[in-house]
């Protein structure tokens, strides 16, 4: 098989991959290749034709395709190469590396026009995004007719292919795509009966609940799920029921909705098949790679950013994170792979209280920039709360938040100077807890 040498390979041409490539370019790397498996770059943004993107990054409200377009123009303007219709099916660290020029990772690519070939890259950035959780993972009983779509699939069919997926719709899951699709289907003339949410709170952004449900008088039924799908060939109705605190359906609360379509917006899962082929350590909580301050994974020279790393709420944060990954990958290439740190020196960040996870999960103190952003999510909706960063028994930061929710990503800026005067073995932790409630570690 043909082997091509490149300095930087970016796997995925969505918002993360594009921003990472730009970041690396700005740090002086010129030999960059972005591989995109779809027919064009832009990733999932291409089907997100609603607005609300870019408020942080561009200080204006853009649609998904517009946001993607800005980055595609930038990448094209810089002369960074994008190959579309090209899918990486395998990634392996280059073994028995005695010759320094050949350090790196070997990606195997398939493409309709170029056949199958391999790319040896000094650094690789993973930016493959995520996929939707299917019906099976919820074990929703009933028949298996046509008309059960994951919300993103329906979004693609409606927005990209221009197809009509249903006239009478129930949506399970109040994740952002589900909320957006409630509005979208209404605009296309479908009747959206309701959005059902298993949890006692929504997993989506507050603004989407207001703009996509309340503005269209679509009811949101919290603590509800689908307990039966009827219709042998096409959905004819679904049965919903309220659930108790153990998320089990409560007998007597069943309600049948006549409908032809059930959309599922029940969670996103980072798509890490390629990462797994490289043997990269995956976090059981984020389902994405474990990374350090440079967004570097457990595999040397392989970086990760965007939804393949952890599922984001706003694309602006994806761009920020990807920019860091791109810059750090560039630094790695420039150093010819001679990193001073090794994983043994990494310091793990502990999560306490309602902090479900934090990214990056570990840091190398010596390599920290003066400021390091940590992104995290909380495990439950919270009222007036405190976020606390501690090193050893010293609290180095404490800030109050009026409200926090699982659907919204939080971040804190960690300052390198906080580490001064602390021991190398002191535990670094991030915690979040409601102020009026007792908090015990």
């Amino acid at each position: 098989m043909k082997i091509i040498n490149r300095e930087l390979l970016v796997i995925g041409g969505g918002p993360a991959g594009l921003a990472a490539a730009v970041g690396a370019y700005e740090e002086g790397i010129r030999d960059i290749l972005i591989l995109e498996r779809d027919i064009e770059a832009g990733g999932i943004l291409n089907q997100c034709i609603h607005n609300g993107f870019g408020l942080h990054t561009f200080k204006e409200e853009l649609t998904g395709p517009e946001y993607a377009g800005r980055y595609i123009d930038k990448v094209n303007g810089l002369g960074i190469e994008i190959k579309t219709n090209s899918m990486v099916i395998d990634l392996k660290p280059v073994e028995n590396d005695e010759n320094k020029d050949s350090y790196g990772n070997l990606a195997t690519v398939v493409s309709r026009s170029e056949g199958m070939y391999q790319i040896k890259a000094k650094a690789v950035i993973l930016a493959m995004g995520c996929r939707e959780r299917p019906r099976g993972a919820l074990n929703i009983p009933g028949f298996r007719p046509a008309g059960v779509f994951s919300a993103g699939t329906a979004q693609r069919l409606v927005n990209i292919e221009g197809r009509n997926v249903g006239k009478d719709v129930v949506i399970l899951g109040s994740g952002d795509i589900g909320l957006i699709m409630a509005r979208r289907m209404s605009l296309e003339g479908a009747r959206v009966h309701c959005v059902l949410e298993l949890m006692p709170y929504s997993g989506g952004l507050k603004r989407n609940i207001v703009q996509c449900l309340e503005d269209y008088s679509i009811p949101l039924h919290l603590s509800h799920t689908v307990i039966d799908v009827k219709g042998k060939e096409r959905v004819t109705s679904i049965v919903a029921a309220q659930v108790d605190e153990n998320l089990q359906p409560i007998p007597g609360t069943e309600k049948e909705y006549k409908c032809d379509t059930l959309l599922l917006s029940v969670g996103l899962i980072p798509e890490n098949e390629v990462s797994l082929s490289a043997g990269i350590e995956i976090s059981p909580i984020t389902n994405g790679p474990v990374v350090d301050e440079a967004m570097e994974t457990s595999c040397r020279g392989v970086f990760a950013c965007g939804n393949v790393l952890h599922v984001h709420d706003l694309v602006d944060y994806v761009s920020d994170e990807a920019d860091v990954a791109g810059r750090k990958a560039a630094a790695f290439i420039r150093s010819q792979g001679e990193e001073v740190n090794t994983k043994e020196h990494a310091r793990h960040i502990e999560t306490l209280g309602a902090v479900r996870y934090v990214v990056p999960q570990e840091i190398h103190s010596d390599n920290l920039d003066d400021e390091q952003i940590f992104r995290f999510r909380v495990s439950k909706p919270m009222g007036r709360s405190k976020i606390v960063v501690s090193i050893g028994d010293k609290t180095v930061m404490s800030k109050n938040k009026m409200i926090m929710a699982p659907g919204e990503m939080e971040n804190i800026t960690f300052k390198k100077k906080w580490l001064e005067g602390t021991g190398a073995d002191d535990k670094i932790s991030i915690s979040a807890f409601e102020i009026d409630k007792e908090f015990v570690i």
């Binding site: 070939y117 019906r135 298996r144 197809r163 009509n164 042998k232």
Partner: protein, 514 residues
């Protein structure tokens, strides 16, 4: 099929694994045979929703048809998988007991198996079993080890048999439902009305054109009694016994190497834990007798039940989040508790092949030859001249199982094999096109899924479904709106959301005129 009458020597009703096995065997002879299937694809009934196990043959009552055909069928599965190129693996199995008392049951099973002719049976201690299967429950006291059993792809077995039969001249009438059967009349009357019944021909009335055949083989699965009762002088009753399953992500595919059975009960072999031949992990089935014959829906109670029961077999069952889909199948259970392969009472040339429940899939390779021997009792069959029957078939290209070098070679020759459509299972456009353009090719999303696995992975078609629909529409030269999930009512999309330059509108007007 036109409106003119079509005459056949033999019509097989039912295009499941049983009907297809019989069809392939009959294709060796010079007769004119057909398969009548009410669904849009072959293997849409019991054949698509079962455990996919090639049973060792220890379970069936010695002397029963189940026992005889299981041993023969399982014995020839490996050879058949080479002839017809479908996935089969001899992974072995275990029947476990979590009580000391169960040892006696295992010994009975072993004795029964040996009587049936199963080789290599061995009873081992729980500890030894756990060495072979580390995830086995700590509670397991004893296990019967059956090294000869295996796993097979039930879809590809059915498709392979059906395709090979079609290639050798058997006609398939898909989408054709049998509504009634008129028995042959022996005399041709002068009366006009008698003309419809040629002497010696059954008249099979369908929702399409009628089909005439000298002999009928009833392989109609759970509807076998229904077809039988159309003509026979006695009544049969088949119970549709539902079994539910959960299929796990491939990351749990090596949870066990062997198929793990629990002690069998009256209702069947109990809940098993098994790898599938494609590398998933699967649990199920339970057993629940339903009213009617269409209820292949899953239930919360049923899915909870199989998870609870599977936990008796293994120590730490992967969590629910590891499940990618669940499904249910219907077994055609006869109160006679054995396969019914015989002439229907009061009808010459009408052979029932019904009540084919477990181990029916394992028996499939043997059922064809067995039934054909039966046919020979009343119909002279002449073998086709040497070289005119080809019992070999090339299976679907399966890129994911090839080495990189092999894949590169295929892609270099045909770029469509480099265009990956289903990311989860790495299925290329070339493979999907193959599935469509074969004899008895796929015409539906489910047809693609079962033949080449596009959409069968962890995202369950989330990404590839729109693309697969487009490829189907293009290859079949129909509109995307006409691509269904499986049956004719399983419409996936309702046309376009708005008219584009009036194209859609003119099409609708056209349709109205028809």
């Amino acid at each position: 099929m036109g409106t003119e009458k079509v005459n056949f020597d033999i019509a097989i009703i039912g295009g499941g694994v049983t009907g297809c096995s019989i069809a392939r065997e009959l294709s060796k002879y010079t007769i004119k045979a057909c398969v009548i299937e009410k669904n849009t694809d072959i293997g849409e009934g019991t054949s698509k929703a079962n455990s996919g196990i090639v049973h060792g043959g220890f379970d069936a009552e010695p002397g029963s048809l189940k026992a005889k055909l299981n041993i023969e069928g399982a014995g020839s599965m490996a050879a058949l998988s080479k002839e017809l190129d479908f996935p089969y693996k001899n992974n072995g199995s275990m029947v476990i007991s979590i009580t000391e008392d169960g040892l006696a049951v295992l010994e009975d099973l072993k004795a029964r198996g040996e009587k049936n002719g199963v080789a290599g049976l061995e009873i081992i201690s729980g500890n030894k079993a756990r060495v072979l299967e580390p995830n086995l429950s700590k509670a397991v006291k004893w296990a019967l080890h059956i090294p000869s059993s295996g796993i097979v792809c039930p879809f590809n077995l059915t498709v392979a048999l059906g395709e090979n039969a079609a290639e050798n001249g058997v006609e398939f009438f898909l989408n054709t439902e049998v509504l009634g059967i008129d028995k042959p009349t022996q005399t041709v009357g002068k009366d006009e009305s008698c003309h419809k019944n040629n002497a010696g021909f059954y008249e099979i009335r369908t929702d399409k054109a009628n089909i005439r055949a000298k002999m009928i083989i009833n392989a109609a699965g759970v509807y076998g009694d229904f077809i039988h009762n159309m003509v026979a002088s006695n009544k049969e009753h088949l119970i549709a016994r539902r079994g539910e399953y959960c299929l796990y992500d491939k990351k749990h595919g090596d949870f066990t190497e062997r198929t793990i059975f629990q002690l069998p009960s009256k209702l069947g072999k109990g809940v098993l834990v098994t790898p599938t031949v494609h590398g998933n992990m699967m649990i199920g089935p339970n057993a629940f007798d339903i009213d009617g014959k269409e209820g292949n829906n899953t239930s919360k109670a049923g899915l909870d039940e199989i998870m609870d029961k599977a936990r008796h077999s293994v120590e730490a069952l992967p969590p629910r989040s590891g499940i990618i889909t669940s499904f249910a199948g219907l077994r055609a259970h006869s109160e006679r508790d054995d396969f019914i392969i015989e002439n229907a009472l009061g009808c010459d040339n009408f052979i029932d092949v019904i009540g084919i429940e477990s181990p029916g899939l394992s028996c499939a390779p043997a059922i064809g030859p067995f039934v054909v021997e039966f046919v020979k009792k009343s119909m002279r069959l002449e073998e086709k001249p040497k070289g005119t029957w080809n019992g070999n078939r090339k299976g679907f290209t399966h890129m994911e199982e090839m080495t990189f070098e092999e894949r590169a070679e295929i892609i270099a020759e045909d770029g469509r094999y480099g265009n990956i459509i289903c990311r989860c299972e790495s299925v290329s456009e070339g493979e999907i096109i193959e599935a469509i353009n074969r004899p008895l090719g796929a015409t539906t999303l489910d047809g693609i899924k079962r033949r080449v696995r596009g959409g069968s992975g962890r995202c369950q078609g989330g990404f590839c479904m729109p693309k697969v629909m487009e490829i189907l529409a293009r290859e079949l030269n129909v509109d995307v709106s006409d691509i269904h999930k499986s049956g004719n009512e399983s419409q996936v999309i309702f046309g376009n959301i708005r008219d584009i330059d009036g194209v859609e509108q003119s099409r609708e007007v056209e349709n109205e005129n028809h």
